[in-house]
């Protein structure tokens, strides 16, 4: 064992560079995993017990508020709420005098029926009471509150790109009454929710309609049946519906970015693979250079198995060092620094445990693969051959 480490230290620079090479490849892998996971965050945060009802033709068309009662009566539905996309940008004054506009998701909803459908959302009871008592209030995810630097009681000014107030102004004001958190790392903590009642009364057009309905169903197995019943209920009406699982709904958005995601994935795999191959090659090279040393080891009585383990161990140690370094760096970046390359585009940016395990597995595989060829050669080596001068 000591020999193994001494060997690694013999050419410290090369070892360091190889560890570094493996590390960079795996860091890249982790980063790509994070990006791809973030593209798919919406799908991962979906719950099988929730269905979404949208207008049949397009998400931009609204549905009448009167549908809510009718949907509630459908068998198998245990809760209904609605959400209307507000599409606004924050209007924070920035030091240079211009307005800093930040994009995040806002929905007008009936908070009392919305929260029971989203048990992921954790909100202190006193804050919830304040929110329900204030029609001008809103609740923010802790992450967006942090980004906008808002606390409870602060005023929040938004410019909606879609909705105008009665006087034609796109500027809306809110008071932050509640902040929500979530235990699930995949749940979006950058949303804003506010009262549908206030929204509907204040807007210039579109009264009496909502963007979409969200249903909680008692039995996720029956989602197809419930969807079909709801859609059949509104077939041939002026506002036909399309009901789907929350996952299918969110998949629509993931599909839109499709090509780019594929490109990123293929680039990523090719690059990671190549970099690992290069590192493996370096490891093999250094093993080959030491044929004579192996001969000496054998001559002084090390068994074949020992030599084999020594070489494999060396390669494994190099790649695992690289893995540990890069995974901890990626973990630090994601979980301690909360790094997000584009917060307005990725509401959730995190490193999943599976990705970390996959990176570790990849490292072990590289170590084994690059170690096995020289290790077998080393095992089969005869002391006499190896010591013969080349």
């Amino acid at each position: 064992m000591r020999l193994l480490f001494l060997n690694l230290l013999r050419k410290p620079l090369r070892t360091l560079l190889t560890v570094f090479g493996v590390g960079v490849a795996l860091f890249l892998f982790c980063f790509l995993e994070m990006v791809l996971a973030s593209f798919n965050a919406g799908v991962n945060m979906s719950d099988a017990s929730r269905l979404i009802v949208q207008h049949k033709e397009s998400i931009i068309f609204e549905l009448p508020m009167s549908y809510r009662l009718l949907i509630e009566q459908t068998e198998g539905v245990k809760g209904v709420t609605s959400a209307s996309w507000f599409g606004a940008l924050s209007q924070e004054p920035s030091p240079d005098g211009k307005k800093r506009e930040e994009f995040f998701a806002q929905f007008a909803t009936d908070v009392e029926s919305y929260l029971p459908l989203y048990p992921e959302i954790k909100i202190p009871p006193d804050q919830l009471r304040d929110l329900l008592n204030d029609q001008m209030g809103c609740m923010l995810g802790v992450k967006i509150a942090e980004r906008l630097n808002k606390k409870i009681g602060d005023r929040l000014v938004l410019r909606s790109t879609i909705w105008t107030q009665q006087d034609g102004s796109p500027i809306w004001e809110f008071t932050v009454r509640a902040l929500y958190t979530s235990d699930s790392p995949t749940f979006d903590q950058t949303m804003m929710l506010f009262h549908l009642k206030r929204f509907d009364e204040a807007r210039q057009f579109g009264q009496g309609s909502v963007g979409l309905y969200i249903l909680g169903i008692a039995d996720p197995e029956r989602s197809a049946e419930v969807s079909a019943t709801v859609d059949a209920r509104f077939a041939n009406s002026p506002y036909e519906t399309r009901t789907m699982t929350e996952k299918a709904f969110n998949l629509q958005f993931v599909g839109m970015i499709g090509n780019f995601q594929l490109l990123l994935r293929s680039i990523g795999s090719a690059v990671v693979l190549t970099m690992l191959l290069v590192s493996a090659n370096t490891m093999m090279m250094s093993a080959r250079e030491r044929t004579r040393e192996m001969g000496i080891l054998k001559a002084i009585g090390f068994s074949d198995g020992h030599v084999f383990l020594l070489l494999i161990g060396e390669a494994l140690a190099i790649s695992l060092f690289g893995a540990v370094a890069s995974i901890s760096l990626a973990w630090l970046l994601a979980n301690v620094l909360h790094y997000n390359p584009k917060p307005d585009f990725f509401p959730v940016f995190y490193l999943s445990n599976q990705s970390m395990l996959a990176a570790l597995g990849l490292a072990a595989l590289t170590g084994l693969l690059s170690g096995i060829v020289p290790a077998i050669a080393g095992m089969r080596l005869h002391a006499t051959e190896a010591l013969r001068s080349v």
Binding site: L28, F31, P170, E240, N259, A270, M285
Partner: protein, 390 residues
């Protein structure tokens, strides 16, 4: 005296394996860099070229895209009669347009949102880039539509001579149009009045587009002054069509550029490590050779330079290889959802000379950083040590 250039060149050829590795590493970075940037450039080019240099677009105040906008017929009429709108053959060159999106199956599976534009027959006098490629233009007042060539490529079962059913209406596609490669080619066009009645949107348009009589920038300034003072125009805002589309391209292009930048940075760090490793190996393999050079009277500076030249050569070869490979992507057709319009936009990868130059610069930097330390080691060798047999 300097060591001849040919020495560095031959040295690369001698060690084929490790040179190829270093070249390949750098080439890979170049390929990824060029691919991602050409994706962003292609997208930006298509979206930005949608704006004509003579036109001004009017949307509702606060709206960033036509889709979110609403302009009433009366407002549109007031604007179209202003003297700053150009006139041709006694008719004002202004069009009121309706825009909406519907979900459609896309080529190769999945769904995407498609922009439908309802425009009056004389819209082509204002959208001057739009011309018919196949078939004929739609007849006003009939259930006919024309399809952009970009969209025809991206959608399933939609093409010339086919029909498209949206809600309870069926449109016959009677022609395909081109629009100078711009994002308009990803739209379906039909008669505006009919579209409005089919989707219960009577009296409300999404935008007013007009050709400015003078410079469009001045027209925007005059109109902005008017919208501030005239209560009838208070709800709208004007911008040049170029400016409008530039803003739309920003989000996606920024996203790709940021991700591309991060990927390239991580990868170039890896490639630098690879190049350093290769050069160190070169130096230690050629210890005796270096000793000879020094013994022959070449100065350490000359030796340093020779190794730097070698490293830069490796980088240059990598750059050439990488650029050559990535040129294959140039003109490749693809599509992506434009987040600003929320609909499919077809475009091509666009490798610009600027991107190639940046990539070349990047690889020179990688070659320099990767080679500088090993070259110092070579230059600092003592003749006696280098020539000693090991």
């Amino acid at each position: 005296m300097a060591i001849p250039f040919i020495y560095s060149l031959r040295s690369i050829a001698v060690r084929k394996g490790s040179s190829a590795m270093a070249i390949g590493g750098i080439a890979l970075v170049v390929v990824v860099f060029v691919t991602l940037l050409s994706l962003a450039a292609g997208f930006q080019e298509v979206v930005e070229s949608s704006g004509s240099g003579h036109n001004v677009i009017v949307v509702r105040k606060g709206a960033d895209a036509e889709l979110q906008s609403q302009v009433r017929r009366e407002t549109g009429r007031i604007i179209s009669e202003l003297p700053l709108v150009a006139e041709e053959n006694g008719r004002k060159l202004a069009v009121f347009e309706s825009v909406l999106i519907v979900a459609r199956p896309k080529q190769g599976g999945g769904e995407t949102n498609v922009t439908i534009r309802g425009a009056p027959p004389h819209a082509r006098d204002v959208h001057t880039d739009v011309r018919l490629a196949q078939g004929r233009w739609y007849t006003p007042g009939s259930n006919e539509a024309v399809l952009g060539v970009g969209l025809a490529r991206r959608l399933r079962n939609v093409g010339l001579g086919q029909t498209m059913t949206i809600g309870r209406n069926t449109w016959h596609i009677v022609g395909l149009f081109e629009a100078g490669g711009s994002a308009l080619e990803s739209e379906l066009w039909m008669d505006g009045d009919l579209l409005q009645s089919a989707f219960h949107r009577d009296g409300v348009f999404q935008s007013v587009l007009f050709r400015a009589a003078g410079s469009p920038r001045e027209a925007v300034e005059q109109l902005t002054a008017l919208t501030d003072s005239d209560p009838r125009l208070r709800s709208v805002q004007a911008m040049t069509e170029k400016e409008y589309y530039r803003k739309q391209a920003k989000l996606m292009a920024d996203l790709i550029t940021i991700l591309g930048g991060i990927l390239t940075t991580i990868m170039s760090v890896g490639a630098i490590a690879g190049a350093t490793n290769t050069m160190y190996a070169a130096v230690s393999q050629r210890k005796r050779e270096i000793g000879c050079l020094l013994a022959m009277g070449f100065t350490p500076e000359a030796v340093w330079l020779a190794f730097m030249v070698e490293s830069l050569l490796l980088a240059a070869l990598g750059a050439v290889l990488g650029c050559a490979v990535s040129l294959v992507f140039n003109g490749m057709k693809t599509g992506m959802t434009n987040w600003a319009t929320f609909s499919e936009t077809a475009f091509e990868f666009l490798v610009t000379p600027g991107i190639l130059a940046t990539a070349a610069l990047l690889s020179v930097v990688m070659g320099f950083v990767g080679g500088v330390l090993p070259a110092f080691r070579a230059a600092r060798m003592k003749v006696v040590d280098a020539l000693r047999r090991t």
